[in-house]
Amino acid sequence: MSFWQITLELLGGFGLTCLLFLLTLILAIPLGLGISFCTMSSFKPLKAVSKIFVWLIRGIPLMLLIFMIYYLPGLLGLGSLNIFNQLDRYFTSLAGSSEMLYHGRFIAVLIAFVINYSCYFSEIFRGGIESISRGQYEAGQVLGMTKGQIFRKIVLKQVIKCILPPMSNEIITLVKDTALANAIAIPEIIQRAELMASGQAIIWPIFYTAVFYLLFVGGLTILLGRAEKKLSYFKA
């Protein structure tokens, strides 16, 4: 295999990484916001349940969570076969592919990632929202602003400024956690490099994969750094 063939093959795997990364972000941010509102709720049962949920999810290794999501429907007796494998087969026959596709398993991984990261995000959001002093809300209130206006025009930007550094950390961790999709045989970048190593005895692509991660994380770091800088004109 030439360098370019290997690069292309790895790039295909990295595409999956990026897809998982993006979908997780898009879904986990709103869900995390929802969970953070639940954990701050004045309705005690909701608060308790959501806090226990966050504790459970944050306490379970993501790898284990992936397995749990993957096996859970089968355990609950939904379908004779693992429901995600059934999906795999369905998509494979739909596409008329000779190789087994991995759409079902990808969904299982995505669910695990979204649950895991929405819980982490929710704690960051809670910290950010709680860091805004009562005085900011009250100042808006005595100026006759509505609750929505206070949130959108006063609180939101301060919260974003406050959560950006911890969010940057989580986002970068998320990039690297995508490698865990390996656990249920999704052909992401590291899996492909590993196959080359075991199948064709080419070892160096394993090291080469690091370049992809480093470039991606580097780009993200610059982007997030810019956002932080943009908000540095005020002190919350």
Partner: protein
């Protein structure tokens, strides 16, 4: 009476913080509220400004009932009386992401934009009103002596300057009554003067004001009327001369002498 507060009560859990407060204030008058820590001064001001909901009592402005605790229990609309009052906080509470000018224009512009969205004004009217709001804000900044700071963010302003901006912000909505909760307590002693000067100039313009303060000399100079609060009730009230002459009120004397001791 322009402002009338009738039998206002408020409890936090078991402790009754306001035990039936009654007072009135004529338009253009300045009322100072003094009293020891925990006597309920802030709570009274917050109830008047709807930051807390009083358990009992009524508030009238210009003959209109703007608050009635009895009605409050049935419906949840708390914001009704808000715009009759302006509130200046001890800790300023400027919005950090906005410049001094934007802090002042934010709330009034939002109201105009809302009116445009509701289609009660045309786009041209909106633009005209927004320009008006900006001009008004600029003249308010000039009034508090901060014209050259209009583009500064709160973190670039001293405490005294921040408090002056927050006074301008409250004035921008032209409230009937402007309330201050210890406006200089968070400031270094040498800059309290700049804020007190602004308040005095407002008094000279016949702005109706309620001021909670620990600055006795200031209260004496600026007030038409002073209320001494003690344990959730009004223990003494009157013009500055009357109040400071009430020798028989032990609590008041003890409170006042603690200030003279501090001054020595």
């Amino acid at each position: 009476m322009f402002l009338e507060v009738k039998n206002l009560t408020k409890s936090f859990g078991e402790t009754q913080v306001l035990q039936g407060i009654n007072f009135g204030l004529e338009k253009g008058q300045v009322l100072s509220i003094i009293g020891s820590s925990g006597s309920g001064k802030t709570t009274l001001l917050r109830c008047i400004n709807a930051l807390e909901t009083a358990d009992g009592g009524e508030i009238y402005v210009d003959g209109n009932k703007i608050f009635d605790a009895a009605e409050q229990k049935n419906k949840k609309s708390k914001t009704k009386n808000i715009l009759n009052f302006g509130f200046v906080f001890q800790s300023f509470n400027l919005f950090p992401q906005y410049t001094a000018l934007e802090n002042i224009t934010l709330a009034p512009s939002l109201k105009i934009r809302e009116a445009y969205k509701q289609k009660s004004i045309t786009k041209d009217e909106m633009k005209e009103k927004l320009a008006e709001i900006e001009n008004n804000a600029l003249s308010l900044l000039a009034k508090v002596g901060l014209s050259e700071k209009k583009n500064s963010y709160p973190c670039q302003l001293s405490g005294g300057q921040q408090q002056r901006v927050s006074i301008a912000r409250a004035l921008a909505l032209s409230p009937d009554v402007l309330c201050f909760d210890e406006p200089t307590s968070a400031l270094d002693p040498e800059i309290t003067g700049e804020v007190l000067k602004i308040i005095k100039s407002l008094a000279a313009e016949n702005m109706t004001m309620i001021i909670v303060t620990h600055e006795m000399a200031f209260a004496r100079d600026v007030s038409d009327k002073i209320i001494f609060m003690d344990g959730g009730v009004i223990s003494a009230e009157g013009s500055p001369a009357e109040l400071f002459a009430q020798r028989e009120n032990r609590r008041l004397q003890a409170f006042l002498s603690s200030f003279y001791d501090m001054a020595k």
